[in-house]
């Protein structure tokens, strides 16, 4: 028992990171489930992180009120961004959303109240591992239920054949916007959790590189189910830790493993587990 407690204290930061990365992976998964490749999630994460930190430190709001308000602001931004870019498909949508993420980051550097490139320091540690994992459990449960609902079926139909879907009375624009807003909300909430589990936030936390990492979590884990992105986030967050002994070659091996997963397990790592349990 003492070993467990000691292990928790030694690794709680890593544990928190896995949970937050899993939420981010789910946020990109929601839009993928509706057939949209969005890489703007760092922008949503940043909006909610800055908003919730400012609400708590300056406005003295309680944490959950601030986090949910920040996430709602991110969802509103998602709707605003979703409206004009809905017509774009595939890689064009991805580029437009990358642009959005960069715009948010540049605003974060230049706005008078975001602390510039140095960001905001001295954020109170209000988020515990328990909060992160109970949030993850709740959101994963809701998303799993969503996949079983009428809306979830519409998401999958749009992803697989938009023309056939609209021929069955499904309004693609409405569902895509909903997917955008849900993804933005989850990314935003994850941003608030991340901000309050570290001491400071800065614009470099929300770089394009991280958006790609998050996409890799979802793809490596498998986008066929809710469990896939969570498994992918856990694996690809732990992997660099395990590969620490490789020092400078770490990223190379990390990338190679990701490639191997994409080539040999196109349905993601989680498909191994599913195949086992199906037997």
């Amino acid at each position: 028992m003492h070993e467990l407690v000691a292990a928790y204290h030694a690794h709680s930061a890593l544990l928190n990171e896995i949970g937050i990365n899993a939420l981010l992976a789910l946020s990109v998964w929601v839009t993928l489930a509706c057939g949209q490749l969005s890489l703007g999630n760092m922008g949503f994460m940043a909006i909610a992180a800055y908003a919730s930190v400012l609400l708590v430190t300056r406005g003295h709001w309680p944490f959950f009120g601030a986090a949910l308000t920040g996430a709602a602001m991110a969802a509103a931004a998602g709707l605003l961004l979703g409206w004009p870019v809905l017509r774009l498909r595939g890689v064009f949508l991805a580029i437009a959303t990358i642009g959005f993420g960069e715009i948010v980051r540049i605003f974060a550097i230049n706005l008078p109240f975001t602390g510039g490139a140095e960001g905001i320091a001295g954020i109170p540690q209000l988020v515990t591992t328990a909060i992160i994992y109970s949030s993850l459990a709740l959101i994963a449960f809701l998303l799993w239920r969503l996949t079983r609902s009428r809306a979830g079926r519409a998401f999958a139909a749009i992803a697989q054949d938009e023309v056939a879907a609209s021929g069955l009375g499904i309004n693609p624009a409405a569902y895509k916007l909903a997917a955008f807003a849900i993804g933005a909300f989850i990314a935003g909430y994850a941003g608030a959790l991340a901000a309050f589990s570290s001491f400071f936030i800065s614009p470099s936390d929300y770089s394009f590189g991280r958006a790609v990492d998050v996409l890799a979590f979802a793809v490596a884990g498998g986008i066929g189910s809710v469990a896939g992105p969570i498994a992918g986030a856990a694996l690809l967050t732990l992997l660099p830790e395990w590969l620490r002994f490789l020092q400078n070659y770490r990223d190379v091996v990390n990338g190679a493993i990701l490639l191997l997963v994409i080539i040999f397990l196109p349905q993601g790592v989680w498909s191994i587990v599913r195949r086992r349990s199906a037997r």
Binding site: L142, R145, L146, R148, S149, R150, A151, R153, A154, A156, A157, Q160, D161, V163, A164, A165, S166, G167, L168, G169, I170, N171, P172
Partner: protein, 254 residues
């Protein structure tokens, strides 16, 4: 029920459909035939909103369909199948049919999210109905097969089941017999005829297979180069000199 009034669709200088006027009454099996490139599929795309007419109006029971979005037209009761199957490839046959019920499936989202038993029971009822529908089309054993793994003939029948699941008032079939063998075609014919008789669905059948159209349809319109050149009963069409010249004449001489 469905009326097209002087509908024209122009692509640049080409008239895909020209001044087409059609009236498809309720509960009728209506055939639309014509040589390749006559504008049959364009006519279907105009009705379902995939293309907008350049001129003319399309209405369902007096309600204008042109200028509406495809999903709105579908919700008003117009369903269709496609020339090449457009099943959702990674869903099972059953899931495809359940998606077909989208407009009428009102399982509550909040109930589903919370895992509330009545909402789950509703979703299960949809699956039961979808399974029955597949059974009626002889697909019971293939219900849980992934759509893209199905044979071409099976895919067509699943697509038909999906369209029926939408409980349409009118069903547009775009060359449903293409690629089917004579036995499968015969069976398809019986299924379409049953649709009209038992479910009261109006059917617009676009087809190349003359034998199928002649034996199944009560009324037939013939398109050639985007224009309607004849309309009437199968017997009238068979004896129409214009039709023989444009279409049947080629077949007879071959």
């Amino acid at each position: 029920m469905i009326s097209l009034d002087a509908v024209t669709k122009q692509y640049g200088g080409v008239h895909a459909v020209k001044e087409l006027t059609l009236e498809i009454p309720e509960r009728m099996l209506f055939g639309l035939i014509g040589p390749n490139g006559a504008g049959k599929t364009t006519a279907l795309n105009l009705i379902t909103g995939l293309a907008a007419p350049t001129r003319g109006t399309i209405s369902l029971d007096g309600r204008r369909l042109d200028r509406r979005k495809p999903y709105e037209i579908a919700a008003l009761g117009v369903a269709r199948t496609y020339q090449t199957s457009r099943l959702f490839p990674y869903m099972t046959a059953l899931e495809n049919v359940v998606v077909g019920m989208h407009v009428h499936a009102r399982d509550s989202l909040v109930g589903q999210l919370a895992g509330w038993p009545p909402a789950i029971a509703q979703a299960r009822a949809l699956r039961t109905r979808a399974r029955e529908l597949l059974g009626e089309l002889g697909l019971s054993e293939r219900a849980d097969a992934v759509a893209r793994s199905l044979a071409a003939g099976e895919q067509r029948r699943v697509e038909l089941a999906r369209a029926i699941a939408a409980q349409p008032r009118v069903l547009l079939l775009d060359e449903p017999a293409a690629g089917l063998n004579p036995v499968e075609t015969e069976r398809l014919r019986d299924e379409i005829v049953r649709l009209v008789r038992e479910r009261g669905i109006g059917v617009l059948l676009v087809e190349h297979d003359m034998a199928l159209v002649m034996s199944a349809c009560e009324r037939i319109a013939v398109l050639d180069f985007g224009e309607k050149i004849a309309e009437g009963s199968p017997a009238q069409i068979r004896n129409d000199p214009k039709v023989i010249e444009a279409y049947l004449g080629v077949e007879n001489s071959a």
